[in-house]
Structures are given as C-alpha cells and as structure tokens.
C-alpha cells in the first residue's frame, strides 16, 4: 500500500499522480483540488511520465525525524517532461555516481511492513544504460 493514498499508481508500471489545471495548464504534484498556481478549481488527475532528468541531488546520511528506514539514501529533484520538477528519494546514495541531466526512472521502494502489508513510497533510480 502507498505511504499516502493518491500519490502514485502501484503496479508493474508505477506512475506519480499529478494534477493539471484546466485554467492555467500548470502541473502540480501531489495533485490538489485547487490549482496552487492560479486557484483554478478544475484540476485533472494525470499520470506523470515514468522517466525524467536529474536536476539536483544529495544524500541523506542521518535518519531524519519520523523516518524508520535505512540510511544513507539519495535525495534530489527530477524534472519530468510535463514541465514539473519533483522532490524525490533517489536509489543511488553516492552523490559522486550521479550526473546532472542523467535519465532517471520511477520505482517504488518498501519503507516498512504494516499489518502484513508492504508500505511503499516513490523514488527515482538511474535508467539502465
């Protein structure tokens, strides 16, 4: 199950769920009912592209508040073709192994188990070359 409903589609081809405003056309993630850019009240649910380009990155070396998973892990921004930059975990925890603009693919990572169900969040991984 997703760490929060409505963030992404789970399955063989996972996808982040964004919102595209019918009034201004801007894309937001996570989707919200009212457009953060123009206050438009019709925001369509769209599945964002699975692949994008790495825009900024670092590594988290100490567990931040409320996080029960392992460290270190990658953390950064991936730019998607819909014209949106997304804050995300990265599967690569060594900043030296990443390059600006490199292709990244969406994956789902297991955070913990709750009532026998795997709790999943989203991350991006370097595309296979």
């Amino acid at each position: 199950m997703a760490v929060r409903d409505g963030l992404f589609v789970i399955g063989e081809h996972p996808a982040l769920i964004g919102g595209r405003c019918r009034k201004c056309g801007q894309v937001c993630f996570p989707r919200q009912d009212i457009c953060p850019y123009c206050s438009g009240e019709a925001v369509d649910r769209i599945e964002l592209s699975r692949s994008g380009a790495l825009w900024a990155w670092t590594a988290v070396t100490a567990a931040p508040p409320g996080y029960g998973g392992t460290v270190p892990y990658g953390f950064g921004v991936v730019e998607l073709p819909e014209g949106v930059r997304v804050i995300t975990r990265l599967t690569e925890a060594d900043p030296a192994k990443l390059e600006r603009g490199q292709a990244m693919d969406l994956v789902l990572e297991e955070l913990s188990e709750q009532d026998g169900k795997r709790v999943l969040t989203y991350a991006f991984a370097p595309s296979p070359r």
Binding site: V3, A59, P64, Y67, F75, I87, R89, V119
Partner: protein, 381 residues
C-alpha cells in the same frame, strides 16, 4: 505616518542553557530592553512575542513574570522570520497612531538535533523527505552549478562568520576556524559539511519601539526603524523555502527574500548601495551567498566575487554578519531576527566594540525560512 524609533534593545546570549526555561530567557532580554529604553510598567501599550517552539502564550508567561500584563500580547509564529514579523506588526501599530510604544521580543529553546517540524506531513516523514539540511544542500548545489561558487567559497563564509563571532560575547561559538578544518568536518549532505550548518539553540532578544523621541537623558544616538517587511513565497520554485514537493521548470519566480527586500527598500527610500552593514540568514553557508543575490547586494551570480574580494568581512566595504551570524550564534528561531536587530542597533550607535563597522549609518537585517517567510528590516541613524 509617524516615524518609528528604537528606544532600546536587550538580549539573552544565544547558546544551550540547562535548567533555564524559555520564560527565563525572555525575562532577561525584555528587562534589558526596558531598562535601556527607560520604559517602565505601563510604558508600552502592546507586546508582540516571536516564537516557533515556545508553545501557548509564551509572551504572556514572560510578561506575567514581570507583572506587566493587561495590554494586548500577540504571539507571532513565522518560522525563521518570526521576529521580523513581530517587528512589522509593532511598527504598523505605532505608525497608525493606535499605540505610542511597543515591546517586541523573541524567545526560543529549540529541540536538539535535526529539528522535527510540524510542517511536514506523516507521509513525508515516513518517506525520508523531512530532512531539512538536505533541502539546503540541494539549494547549495544549484547555486554552485549556476554561479562561480565553490566549496572553498562556502568554507570562506564559515571562516568569516566564525571570526566575527569570536568577537561577540553573546555568540555560542567563540573560536575561529580555518578553511581546511571546515572542509575536514564530516559531510552532512553533499556539498554541505557539518561546520557549514548552523546549530539550532536557545536565546532571547527584545526591542522597544516608540513614536516619541526616546528620553533626552539617554546618551545613545537615535536609531530609526525605516522598514520592517514580511513576505511569503510565490508558487513555482521547487527549492523554495516553502518546501513544496514540486515546482515548475521556470527559474524566474522571485524568491520571498527579494519580494521583502524590494518592498523594504521602497519603504525606506534607499537601495542596496546605501547599506553600510548587513545581518542576513546564514542557516548554512550557501544560504548567506544566496541572500547576497536575493537582497541585491550583488547581481545574479555575483556572490562568489564578493567573497573573493573580501567585501563582506569586517573591514571590507559591506560587512555581512558582523555578529558572527547564525553560524556563530546558533539559531533560536523566534529570537534570531531580533538578535540581528540588536546587533545592528548597536552598530548604528557605535557601541559594537571590536565588531564595530566604522561610521555605520544604514543597516539591513534579513531572515528567511519555512513557510515560506522572509523578513527584511532597515534601520538608520
């Protein structure tokens, strides 16, 4: 509109103080400011208390301890800019003629370690997306990518501020460091090393504002509060202090600091070229350099050159963070902006001792943080 003057300032040193409560810290700063301004019981008609972690009625607890209640006491939370927000409210109340004199103070005892912020949703925390220093790191990496800033510039900011802090008895870290040691401290989140990040801590600061000329018996030179502006963010910048989960592929969204600075310069009728001394947000070393650009102290990409020419060191043409900044003082959220104002008032009055910027006449204080909230305050003598 009435002119607003600074009648007096007070501070409780920033640091870690076991067994001392948030209220205790506030009492010290408030008493100092009231004494310096010659303001007694009943001498102010409103109080504004800045705090982010102080909890319910922080201001009332301080003034209750002093037996000075009855007037409106407003607790203000605006993250790192809480003190600037409180100052802006007090200034408006005086300008409008509603009140003659206001007490503005900030108090804080920060939790230890990486700050747990109620800002983040549980899913963000569970996903490991609540690591505040990592957002700083991404901003630092982008700054290094789009300008000539290198890790050695980041280290130079720390060396500068720690040198200034070694001259400030109210700072938490009072030892100088060299660049090699800064770069040898452990990497917290690339490109930021431990010593490039400020420490959350404890402290209090207070300012008395008044419409009337402070008592003529006071020997201190007059300081005017020309502008106190608070702004929030515009949407679209993925690395904005508003900490969104997404943004646009548009790099031209003006940051909240620039929004606040533009309005403050206009209110004061000056530009950045008029400034003699600046205290700016240096939560991490890259944040200070970003502040240079966002406040208009240099053009886009010009921050590295300011460091290279030594412009912002004490003795340079525009000293920045003569107090030592947050890198030396630590950051008690509610008190940090007013701590800057205390430093600048002392600079403008020529009583900053070894940290004195010669002939300082126009000063700017800047904070920015989550919300987003940015405050810019302009003072002159």
């Amino acid at each position: 509109m009435k002119q607003v003057l600074v009648a007096g300032v007070g501070i409780h040193a920033f640091g870690r103080f076991e067994g001392v409560t948030t209220t205790d810290l506030g009492v010290v700063a408030v008493r100092n400011a009231l004494e310096e301004s010659g303001t007694g019981r009943g001498g102010f008609q409103a109080a504004f208390c800045a705090t982010a972690y102080g909890g319910v009625a922080s201001g009332h607890k301080v003034l209750g301890r002093l037996g000075m209640t009855g007037m409106p006491i407003v607790d203000v939370e605006a993250g790192c800019a809480s003190g600037g927000a409180a100052l802006a409210l007090a200034k408006s109340a005086i300008e409008s003629g509603q009140i003659e004199t206001a007490l503005v103070f900030g108090v804080e005892k920060m939790p230890r370690g990486i700050i747990r912020s109620s800002f983040f949703e549980p899913w963000q925390e569970a996903s490991g997306l609540a690591s505040t220093p990592s957002y700083f790191a991404l901003r630092a990496q982008r700054l290094m990518h789009i300008s000539g800033v290198t890790k050695s510039h980041l280290a130079a900011v720390v060396v500068k501020n720690r040198r200034h802090g070694s001259l400030n008895p109210d700072a938490m870290f009072r030892s100088e460091v060299d660049a090699a040691s800064v770069l040898a401290s452990r990497v917290v989140c690339e490109p930021l090393h431990l010593w490039m990040l400020c420490s959350p801590n404890e402290g209090a600061a207070a300012v008395v504002l008044t419409a009337a000329d402070p008592s003529p018996s006071r020997a201190l030179p007059r300081v005017r509060l020309d502008a106190a502006v608070l702004r929030s963010h515009l949407p679209g910048a993925v690395l904005s202090e508003s900490t969104p989960m997404s943004g646009l592929t548009n790099d031209d969204v003006p940051p909240p600091t620039t929004l606040a600075a533009t309005a403050a310069y206009e209110a004061a009728g000056i530009g950045p070229e008029s400034l003699d001394v600046v205290e700016c947000q240096d939560t991490d070393a890259a944040r200070e350099l970003l502040s240079y650009e966002e406040l208009g102290l240099c053009g886009p990409g010009g921050s590295a050159a300011l460091i290279d020419e030594g412009a912002t060191v004490l003795g340079g043409r525009l000293p920045v963070n003569p107090s030592g900044g947050l890198l030396s003082k630590g950051e008690p959220l509610g008190a940090s902006a007013l701590g800057q104002v205390v430093e600048l008032v002392r600079q403008l009055q020529g009583r900053a001792a070894q940290r004195q910027v010669p002939d300082a006449r126009v000063a700017l204080s800047h904070t920015v943080g989550r919300g987003a909230n940015a405050s810019v305050v302009i003072l002159s003598s």
